[in-house]
Amino acid sequence: MIQLKNVSKSFGNQTVLQDVDMTLTEGKVIGIVGENGAGKTTLFRCIAGLESFDGTITSDCTPLKNHLGFLMTDPFFFSKITGEEYIRLLCNAREIELEELDRKNVFDLPLKQYASMYSTGMKKKLALTALLLQQNQYFILDEPFNGLDIQSNMVLTEIILQLKALNKIVLVSSHIFSTLRDTCDEIYLLRSGEPIRKVLPQEFDRLEAEMKATTIGSKISDLGLR
């Protein structure tokens, strides 16, 4: 279990997270939705321990960061390091022995090539493969579906469901609502750094309709497209 109590974060005068309370339990996939700048990434970084914050975050496995796989929106890759070496680097960091990598290359990545030469989608798949091979208990996936082709989208959805079946905690954000509908057990709606609602599967369609109405409104018709 991961428990967040009164988690707040400010950058200067700007409050990015405000008293976030959440309880994340094993075997659940938790979605986070919100507009750009709602605080999703900052929330993830606070949970990971990459940002300082006010409040408390506790977990069953401590320290949390040593059991957490964090897929960033835009993973960073060094030049002159191959896909295989990147995976090895991440596994070494957690002292995980890497075996039969070719068989575990679920996205069929060209692991002998420099990772910095990969496309956006391939970079994301490489980062994800490395996190999965780290054998983490908790996963934070920030926009994991961005840039992936349709086949990889299907593979990723299956992976998330498999992680859930293995009793892991998966926290995922996405701007593609259908991907959340297919994977999540609950979705938190974040607005201006505050989780304003927790939504369960039976209400997902209503949430999507509400978000469409709020976000789009009459903006498209105002464009006067002909």
């Binding site: 990971a48 321990g49 990459l50 300082s52 320290p63 960061k65 040593n66 964090f70 960033m72 960073f76 060094f78 030049s79 002159k80 390091i81 191959t82 070496e85 990147y86 090895r88 680097l89 991440l90 070494n92 960091a93 957690r94 002292e95 002998k112 090539q113 420099y114 030469m117």
Partner: protein
């Protein structure tokens, strides 16, 4: 091309202003500092020309990191980018070349400029796409990346060992593996993204010792050929060879600790000066190491609780 150098000048002045330094006073002080250190080096050791060459090469490598090279290549095209890089490297090395010439080190000046030329023209295309195999696959990071970026410079350093044996120049032999140490130090010049520290399931102390251990093992691998060769050919000077190996390791460890003492920022200018000051009197490093170690523990505390 002119616009690139104008922009670099503006960036340099802006950086000095941001640090709260008056540019004119900074240039005068930097020149005085450089003259002082190089004079001290020439006074203290016969290896001074080689140390100056090594420092000039490291600064040149550091100033041409991948992102910047890519930006210049995309903006100006391959041919102009190569010329820009060569001019930039020669400008960086200019004070070193002048100092070498003043002290009559003519062939060393030529060697420095030749190595800069090699670095510019060959690394540009040779290391662009192809995956260069390395012996550092088991623990890939600084040495894997660094080896691929400096492979030609490493080959040049090994060639120096051969030349040293052919002309029976013991000092050149020592210089060849000191260059290798300097290259290894350059692998730790830039701070990594905090994520790549955060991923480690270690506390700061374990993290630092792991970094030092890997650096020691892998640099030993790189220097082993010239050092063993020199030990075979100059057995009576074994203690000098091993003393310089020890000095090389101490500089490498100090540089790694200084990097993490400044983390996540780039290595602090003051720290760099402190390390350079220790070049003529390496024993001073023994005071710097505990200082940098404590600072590094503090800097890493946030990411590795």
């Amino acid at each position: 091309m002119k616009s690139y150098f104008s922009l670099q000048w503006v960036l340099l002045i802006r950086k000095l202003n941001d640090l709260g330094f008056n540019p004119l006073i900074s240039f005068v002080l930097a020149a005085a500092f450089f003259i002082g250190i190089s004079e001290l080096l020439f006074y203290k050791t016969l290896l001074a020309p080689f140390i100056l060459i090594g420092i000039a090469l490291i600064i040149s490598i550091q100033s041409n990191h991948q992102a910047k090279t890519e930006f210049v290549r995309i903006t100006f095209g391959d041919a102009t980018a190569k010329t820009i890089r060569l001019i930039e490297s020669l400008l960086i090395a200019l004070p070193f070349s002048i100092s070498l010439l003043i002290h009559g080190a003519f062939w060393q000046t030529a060697l420095l400029n030749f190595l800069l030329f090699v670095l510019t023209y060959f690394t540009f295309s040779f290391t662009k796409q192809s995956v260069i195999p390395t012996p550092f696959n088991k623990r890939p990071f600084e040495f894997t990346i660094g080896f691929r970026k400096t492979v030609l410079l490493l080959l040049a350093a090994y060639s120096l060992t051969i030349v040293a044996l052919l002309v029976n120049n013991f000092q050149l032999g020592i210089f060849s593996y000191l260059v290798l140490f300097m290259i290894c130090i350059s692998f730790y010049g830039q701070p990594e993204e905090p994520f790549f520290v955060w991923i480690h399931a270690k506390n700061p102390k374990e993290f630092l010792f792991e970094k030092l251990k890997i650096a020691t093992i892998y640099s030993s691998l790189l220097i082993s050929i010239p050092v063993l060769t020199l030990l075979v050919f100059y057995p009576f000077d074994a203690w000098i060879i091993l003393l310089f190996v020890l000095i090389g390791f101490v500089f490498l460890w100090t540089s790694i600790l200084a990097k993490y003492a400044s983390f996540p920022e780039e290595i602090n200018i003051t720290y760099s000066f402190l390390i350079i000051i220790c070049a003529p009197v390496p024993v001073l490093l023994l005071f710097l190491i505990p200082f940098f170690y404590k600072k590094a523990l503090h800097s890493l505390k946030e990411l590795l609780p």
